[in-house]
């Protein structure tokens, strides 16, 4: 078990390292000099020069860069009056986190629920309905859904606010729009997992022991069907994260995703790289946590890792 954990942590660290290196080099191959471009405010040019060591040889710059990152300093924004990337993160991350958590909770609860319902009613109308909803959830791009929701509930019916993120009601539409894609994927996987478990031998044994159908479903089926779902939690988190870019933009939520999109549009290179690093690190850590959880919860993994 310890070996497993150690292995995953090492890979995670290696990945972060390679990512940081990649951002460093990408910053350097942008045609023209990003640090001297028209977007850069003269006042902060000096600060940038010092921070990134722009007048020093490349190798030294690299070490400075990596050193900064190790200290948790993601650099300076080019466009925003010399704001540090860290400040942007500090301001915007809480909103994104809040939105993301709401969306994840929604997708997990509803996704798994619909998946179970569909599997239990296989072949019957309820199953087909769920399958269709899932297909719609996967096919319709999240921004379309977001825009439609905004139009319908915000403009047409005028019952929900369309921008910003101040009250509970503000969170409803964005969280829902963000959750749809992941919800659909989770429902699909849960349904497939349940169906696979249904035909397992130990279900036959349970029946031969005299257990009634409901008992079998709850005690044996759902439990075992949930395990494989853990393995796609990691990608699901990634989906929610990238989804937030669009949803935050459409609903004008001052979150990290929106800042990222603005940075891309403004060609604020350092901010882009800084945020990319942050997102990357965040996801790597999340994936690590999911791996650990799976390793702890699944008894098969727990005991064979010796």
């Amino acid at each position: 078990m310890a070996k497993y954990i150690l292995n995953r942590v090492l890979v995670a660290i290696l990945t972060m390292f390679v990512l940081a290196t990649a951002t460093f080099f990408l910053l350097r191959i942008i045609p023209g000099d990003p640090f001297a471009g028209p977007k850069v405010i003269p006042e902060i040019k000096e600060r940038l020069r010092i921070h990134y060591g722009l007048d020093k040889p490349l190798v030294e710059q690299y070490f400075i860069y990596m050193g900064n990152i190790l200290r948790g300093d993601f650099g300076y924004s080019l466009a925003k009056r010399g704001h540090r990337v860290n400040d942007v993160i500090k301001d915007a991350f809480p909103q994104s986190l809040d939105l993301g958590i709401r969306a994840m909770i929604m997708s997990i609860i509803f996704g798994i629920f619909f998946g179970i319902i569909a599997a239990l009613n296989r072949g019957k109308p309820l199953d087909y309905l769920t399958v269709i909803l899932v297909l719609i959830g996967i096919s319709v791009p999240s921004f379309v859904v977001a825009a439609l929701l905004q139009y319908f509930f915000g403009v047409y019916l005028k019952i929900l606010p369309v921008a910003r993120y101040d009250t509970f009601w503000h969170t409803l539409m964005p969280a829902f729009a963000l959750s749809l894609g992941t919800m659909a994927v989770l429902a699909r996987y849960m349904r497939a997992s349940m169906l696979e478990v249904m035909t397992a031998d130990y279900i036959k044994t349970a029946r031969a022991k005299g257990l009634r159908n409901t008992q079998i479903v709850i005690r044996h089926q759902i439990r075992n069907a949930l395990f494989p779902i853990l393995t796609i939690l990691g990608p699901a988190i990634a989906m929610v994260l990238t989804g937030s870019f669009i949803i935050e933009s459409i609903f004008a939520i001052p979150g990290l995703g929106r800042h990222y999109v603005l940075a891309l549009q403004n060609l604020d290179y350092t901010l882009v790289m800084g945020l990319t690093l942050f997102f990357g690190f965040f996801l790597i850590v999340m994936n690590l946590l999911v791996d650990f959880t799976y390793g702890i919860i699944d008894p098969r993994v727990r005991h064979t890792r010796n």
């Binding site: 397992a200 044994t205 031969a208 022991k209 005299g210 257990l211 009634r212 439990r223 005991h303």
Partner: protein
Amino acid sequence: MDNEKLLDVKNLTISFHTYVGEVAAVRNVDFYLKKSEVLAIVGESGSGKSVSTQAILGLTPIPPGEIKSGKILFKHEDLLKFDEKEMSKICGSQISMIFQDPMTSLNPTMKVGNQIREVLHQHTDISRRESRERVIELMTLVGIPEPEVRINQYPHELSGGMRQRVMITMAMANRPDILIADEPTTALDVTIQSQIFRLLKELRTEFETAIILITHDFGVVAGIADRIVVMYAGKVMEEGETDQIYYKPRHPYTVALLKAVPSLADNEEQKLRTINGIPPFLLNIPPGCPFADRCDYAMRICKEKEPQYFQFEDNKRVFCWLYHDQAAGQFQRFKDREGRLQ
């Protein structure tokens, strides 16, 4: 031992509707079981042996399966007429079943102790503390070492033989009248095999449980079975007492099966004797005896009409035209050739 039949399966016919057609897995099968006796059902894969016994516990998947006719009488009631609720009262308490592969037949994410306790709590009012003790008692009885440790382990932490013992514990926990063992040792080592069979015999003596043993291997049956039913292609080919089947087999299929068992008396060069051909697809059943194409003694009538059952005393019968008056000549050939077994 009283003469009453504990379980009486009459005229059982089960088909499966697949998208290539209707597969007749079990065709007009009869067999019975008396109190405390061990009945062995022997046959190749696809002979219908598993399907018929699963029907006893209501385990036949109803679509695509269909029970087209028959009665399964247990304590004077027809189990086929029971609904899910009534069946669930019988399964695991009066009739139990263990399956071929204990690895896949146990829930991999549940401690084995809890899986055994589940069957106790399902059918009795036992308390949680009592059930834990009872499980330890049972595991000791069944020969599982260190039960206090094992009770908290998961199936993948146990060896194959141990897992099968756990299955047996689950099955015997409520002292059922009947235990159905579907190829209990096929997935296990030969050495474990004999241990498991010895255990089953002990349990039969201790609890007076009747056992239906399903197997494809004639080699294991002799030491444990009282009576034998030989099935092929969904039909009963021969039925009789163990001694008689081994020393005086009546059906050419039975003879062939017995010959296929390698014997210690064979010399090393002896090739493994197999039966030519393969069992028929049960999709479009040709008329006549299903074994005709592989039988060394087949006659014209065997391809045209299904045989009758010829009865010898009340628990011995055979499904073969050789026993018709008119087949005397062919029957003599059969007796001469297979004489060493008679």
